[in-house]
Subunit: 193 residues, 4 copies
């Protein structure tokens, strides 16, 4: 039951984050097509962040599926992840309003990097709470996605100051890599049943 | 259980969308009746969108009732639907603030059309995940509402540039058509029991 | 299960309404005690509305407890109730910012009156969906609170234009009357078990 | 079931409070590093409040675990707690925007103190609803954290006018004290099983 409440709380926070992000798309004053133009980069950054938050919700869902009990460490590691995710709307709005300029794009990458680190920490605490033959441990054993993402974020953060579109391209690429849910966990769960 | 979490997340997002939409009704500075007048079109568009989101929540509820398992495709098709619904408050506010002028009314229709398309895609993925004698497939077999709505939205989008009230009239008409929950699914479920 | 989702959705909407209402308490620019003074009437109106929404959540909870199945009418009557409740933050902010002046105080009463009417309609649909010996019907049989509240709201709405504090006094009085949860339903449920 | 709904509602409200708090981190207009500087104190106060709300959610979770039935008093004591927690984003934003100056830091402490008092009242009502050998009563028997926190808040409120960093230091210290979940309840629950 405890796990249910942690999941419900995380779902609630992610649902709110994903929805208040749209408040950055401020209603323009005019009713001409020109009034919409300044919103275009904000809209693009909204799409990107919506996908990222969808990926986190989805993977969080899969990972918690393997979690048997919620320890204090797992609870706080989960809040730590939600903390970084809660900064996504800010970074999204700042990047969008400044047309993907250098510093905002780098800050966006830092938030993504810190979220990935927080997700990794949460994963380690869940594995630590499980038996040595942990299902999750096996599933993430050769987790190339989880290993390559932080490296790509780090590259993108530095690239933002030289070639911003390369940076945005990397963020988009990582999102596409993750769009496929982690089938290994699903496969193992199926194999177990 | 997986389905429960998808439903809970969707409910959460729709509940937040429907509620933050009211933030477009900004508190006026004066306390006279005149101070309320500019809010009247925003209030009307709020009512219309509230009904639309209520319809989506209701129909989503009915459709998920027939869904046995959540595949990756269903999960992302559902997030895709929530994405378009999350743009409803923006389109509502823009249309209301501009007194249902041409472009905002057309954009409102585009958001409704894309939501309908996203709902259709989700429906198809759910049917694809079911047996050939899928209950949902039968239920939507002669789904005239689902077929006529996108056509009416498309007409309304173009009409917005010629006769805006015709456009708004169509949006209202489609809302009224859908206000009745999809009794076919209910009937089939009853018949099955 | 259907009822669970209706309750969860209603809880979500009421939780969001009660929380976004605090956004009307805008952070003042200065850090002196004088900077807080203009917030005082908004704070008072926030307390009043917080109690009202708490009452609605509580009574909604009790009423849904007696509801066996959710019909289409109940679903829409519930959304209708949520619609009027969603306007409470607007009315609260307007009344607070204008120091309980006549029109905003009257509008606040109108929202409360319409919420009470919507609650009554929902109650009637739930009773209609039940057996003639409906538990809820008996419980609300001599529901003097439910009968006197709309009358008091109507009085307060007109009084707002003559003596605003009388109006606010009535809103406060009705809140106090309702603060006690409807023990009749509880008693009947206990008696039934 | 009743308890579930109270927990779900409380989770919802706390999830919304923790998330709308980030709206105080307003997207700056420029894209330079200087544009971020004014946000730094707001960011620090956001971290502190995020931890406090996480602590309340966590401890609320543990406490409700021991609660067998929800009385009217528990329900309203819980809403009373949520009321004070709902003011945390306001106090956080005010304190952050004014760089932890005297009055805002004192008001922040008052909100924390009132939340602690509300939590204590809720705890007492839950104990009162239980048998004399209440598990919760034993667990909080020598609850030094619960006893020392209000005293420390009171000290910090007065200290804010003389030495603001001492005040902030105390708020941080209390947060650190509470970061460890109340293991006594966990231990007793384990012992009981």
């Amino acid at each position: 039951m405890k796990k249910d409440r942690l999941e419900a709380f995380s779902d609630g926070v992610i649902a709110i984050i994903i929805t208040i992000m749209v408040l950055e798309l401020k209603v323009p004053h005019g009713d001409s097509i020109e009034a919409l133009f300044p919103l275009f980069p904000i809209f693009l950054s909204y799409i990107l962040s919506f996908i990222y938050l969808g990926i986190y919700w989805n993977n969080h869902h899969h990972m918690m599926h393997t979690c048997q009990k919620v320890t204090g460490s797992i609870l706080w590691a989960n809040l730590h992840l939600l903390f970084w995710l809660s900064l996504v709307p800010f970074a999204t709005g700042w990047m969008g309003e400044n047309h993907f300029s250098a510093l905002p794009s780098a800050v966006y990458g830092i938030i993504l990097l810190m979220s990935a680190v927080a997700y990794f920490i949460l994963q380690q605490f869940i594995i630590a709470s499980q038996q040595p033959d942990s299902l999750l441990k096996k599933a993430v054993g050769n987790d190339w996605k989880g290993k390559i993402s932080p490296i790509l974020y780090a590259v993108a953060i530095f690239l933002a100051f030289w070639w911003r579109w390369g940076s945005i391209g990397i963020y988009t690429l990582v999102a596409l890599i993750w769009l496929v849910p982690d089938r290994r966990i699903e496969r193992m769960l199926t194999a177990k049943d």
